[in-house]
Amino acid sequence: MSVFGEQLQERLNMLLGKRLSSGLTLTGWRFDLHEEEHLEAGLKNNKIGGPYTAPGLKQESSGEICLLWAEEKYTIARIERRVLEEFEANLELWEKTAYKDPYRPGLVKPYEPPAVPLAHEGAVAILDGEFTPAFTYLAEGLETITGYGISKVDGWVRVSRDRRLVANSDGLWISYEQTPVEIYLQGEDLFGEVFAEKRLPAPEEFSGLAVHTGRTVKELKKKTVLPREGEMPIIFTPRVFEAFLEHYLLSNLSGRLVANRQSAFAAQDFHEAKKVFREDLTISVDGTRPYRYSSYRCTGEGVPTGRADLIRGGRLVTPVLNLKYAKKLGMEPTPVPVAGGHGLVIDLPHRRGFEEFLGELEDCLIVYSVLGLHTQDYSAGKFSLAADQSLLVQKGRIQGKVETVLAGDFWQILAREDTVFLDYPREEAPAVCFTAHVAQ
């Protein structure tokens, strides 16, 4: 990677300050290069491999390049391995696609990024040829889940190594390696659960994943009838809650949407620290935690990783801002959330125990998945969704699976004092209980 990066740096530096035939003068550049290798292996209908889930080795070099020209012109392009071989043709295209942007991002000055550990030796060993653990996850997952009487198990393992280089013409040069690992197991096409970090799972983490998947699928195979329609307590499991946070909250915290009046929140709302949610709720991004899927050392623009509150004490703090929208909104750039809602840190002083709380409710629905979240209007906050995998619980006892349609307002869920946040086994993010309208 560094040779590729150095050669690209050299070609670009040769152009700095020169007026090209198009009339453009290059004043700066930055790039974000990735050299990636992946091992993937899958399981379909209890069988490892096969034409849809064949084990595969994949290699790719790609990245993004941005060129700053005189007179506020800017070029952005996705590049691939042959960018150096075909540099002149690429340069011609980059000149043609230059556009005037008064808010074009500047360059980050050189600095030493936090040394967040992101490359796990077990994952590296797999990509160096020790493939066995990847297949073992699938075999063990299959064995555990079928032990719960599940007749159809699917899943996949993906282990990656990404050698990343972020550099710019002001001398920024940040190079590091990371190893994202994802393992997914699913039963009967009803429910699946994922492990995603930048390391291999510890044995107890992996067995917890398989056991949780098997148990949940077993419960979801028992059908029952919704006793009544109307308002009732709903519990979103952490995965569902994270998906809602991603769709509604992160969309509306997008700097681009805020700057362009396409968010539920206006720029002024952030300047005024407008209270939008309950006072004990703080939501942050944190890219500094070792080996976490959402961690990194810098953004593609070179902005350092860190922790930043997006919501603090129920009040708006900042949108998620890259350099351009930070400039446009007159605010500081922020670290960016990686992995959507799963990458958010939810801070609440009070969380109830999950099992204990279930026992206190007359009845409730635990929602494991919804259909159609991506079709909802993120800017309005309201939702109307099919909950295809939900368990009816009465007096703390699981009765079985029901299929329902839920309707509610996600902004209200985050704002209401009677919303209850719950510690959930194996998960950092909370489950959340609120009242919403339920129909069969």
Partner: protein
């Protein structure tokens, strides 16, 4: 002889793969992809981004003579690289064999194919200056900002994509999958309320921007969408329940795609509601007898793909004919197990993906539709109400809701549940009343049984992106301008008490 394509220059790589196949006595499918892409992003009259993308690479799927499969891919395309990838994929296939993994020998039972599809495009990638494209898009975007409460985003994407698929049996097929779209998003904000609507125009090249008839069509679609976003700021919600419904052709495309097409894909037949013991239940009554569902490539369409990612010609398939399940969307590897012929349904997003059985252009066709001579874009909810009365499809004071504008959908093919969403809902009447969007959800077979009539000619250019197994491929389809669905307790609108 047709003109040459970029993928034509890889003859030596294809030959090197064939040589490896002979040497190792193994079958293979080699996929070479070359893609160039141009993206414009404008907001409120200003250019926010112009970005280019280039993607090149190859993936090779190797199958041992016993039927075990391995895969390897690289963004280098060269004879030495394909030999190395072949060895890696073969080693992985042997590991699958050691683990007693899945066996599939279908690759050895298909005839070779040397089809070459080179399309002639009126305004292809590179035929117009970027400055002119930008100028036209800015003009369009500004023209749609008709109210200070509106924010308008315009995205234009132009893709110039070529594929070459070769196999051990001498297959060497080349095809293009060009596509383009202009997509407008309208966000209305007032007093803390917001509403978002969309309009779009798909195509295969820059004609959607350069041909006056095309831009006029987009404008006709966009103005009502912008007005709807504003009107939605002050509307209520429909009480949840089952109603007689009218859906437009874009929603009908989603009904066909989400509620039915996925269940007909043969790679999911083990758990599909249209399968029994892994085989497609041909002959099963799945829809009203007036309904047929057809899928197949349409030249000039946004989702056009004439040849599958396994090198087999894609066929046009009557999945349902007159209400009866007749065929599946079958790719090479799952057709036999599902008990149906191969229809060339395998598609992949990129060279580093393994293909899956997928739809292309799927449409619902209804017998004896009520004729409408106007263009779809001319038909307001008021006019639709009149057509419904004239056709005898509703009474004057009947509670009928018209779902307008597509916002996506999702399906669980194992259980037969689907949902989809619209941009807005009208209660039809002399003065139609607008409500906020709400999901339409229910059971696949119930929904198709509920189709009572179609109005207008077929219109099959509704576009989307299908995300099956995290691979995004273009999809399209439609139906008659409008479909009428009878009230049925198995299909429900909304989810709020009202």
């Amino acid at each position: 002889m047709t003109r040459s394509l970029r993928v034509d220059c890889y003859d030596e790589t294809v030959e090197a793969a064939a040589e490896m196949g002979r040497k190792e006595n193994a079958g293979f499918i080699l996929r070479i992809q070359e893609k160039k892409e141009l993206l414009f992003n404008l907001n409120n009259g200003e250019t926010e981004e112009i970005a280019t993308t280039s993607l090149r690479g190859m993936g090779i799927q190797v199958c041992t003579s016993e039927g075990y499969t391995g895969f390897a891919s690289s963004d280098r395309i060269a004879p030495s690289t394909v030999k190395e990838l072949f060895r890696q994929a073969l080693a992985l296939a042997k590991r699958v064999e050691a683990m007693k993994g899945e066996v599939n020998t279908a690759l050895f039972n298909v005839p070779p194919n040397n089809r070459r599809v080179v399309m002639s495009l009126k305004h292809p990638y590179g035929s117009c200056s970027l400055g002119e494209i930008e100028e036209r898009l800015v003009k369009l975007n500004k023209s749609l900002a008709m109210d200070p409460r509106l924010s308008v985003r315009t995205v234009h994407r132009l893709v110039d994509e070529e594929w070459r698929v070769a196999r051990h049996d001498g297959t060497d097929t080349v095809f293009m999958t060009p596509r383009s779209f202009i997509y407008n998003t309208f966000t209305a904000r007032e007093n803390g309320r917001t509403a978002t609507t969309y309009s779009n125009l798909p195509g295969t090249d820059l004609s959607i921007l350069l041909e006056p008839a095309e831009t006029a069509k987009l404008y006709k679609k966009s103005v009502p969408a912008a007005k709807m976003a504003l009107a939605l700021l002050n509307t209520g919600t429909v009480k949840s329940g089952s109603y007689k419904l009218v859906i437009d052709y874009a929603l009908a495309k989603v009904l066909a795609h989400e509620a039915f097409g996925h269940a007909a894909e043969t790679d999911g037949m083990e758990s599909s509601i249209l399968g029994e013991n892994g085989r497609l239940r041909r002959g099963m009554e799945v829809a009203s007898p007036i309904v047929s569902i057809i899928d197949g490539p349409v030249e000039g369409d946004y989702a056009y793909q004439p040849v599958s990612a396994n090198g087999i010609d894609r066929q046009t398939v009557y999945i349902v004919r007159d209400g009866i399940l007749e065929a599946g969307l079958a790719d090479l590897f799952s057709a036999e197990a599902a008990g149906v012929p191969v229809t060339g349904a395998g598609r992949a997003e990129a060279f580093y993906h393994l293909p899956l059985a997928r739809m292309s252009n799927i449409r619902i066709q209804v017998k004896d539709p009520w004729p409408i001579e106007e263009e779809f874009e001319e038909i307001t909810p008021e006019k639709l109400y009149k057509y419904m009365l004239q056709a005898g499809l509703m009474e004057e004071d009947e509670e009928v809701y018209y779902l307008s504008g597509f916002k996506g959908g999702q399906v669980n093919t194992a259980e037969g549940n689907f949902v989809f969403n619209c941009s807005g809902i009208y209660r039809l009447g002399p003065v139609p009343r607008l409500y906020r969007p709400a999901i339409y959800s229910g059971r696949v077979l119930t929904a198709l049984q509920a189709v009572r009539a179609g109005l207008g000619p077929l219109k099959i250019d509704a576009m989307g992106t299908c995300g099956k197994m995290f691979q995004g491929v273009p999809s399209s389809g439609g139906s008659h301008y409008f479909l009428v669905l009878e009230k049925n307790p198995g299909i429900m609108l909304g989810g709020e008490g009202g």
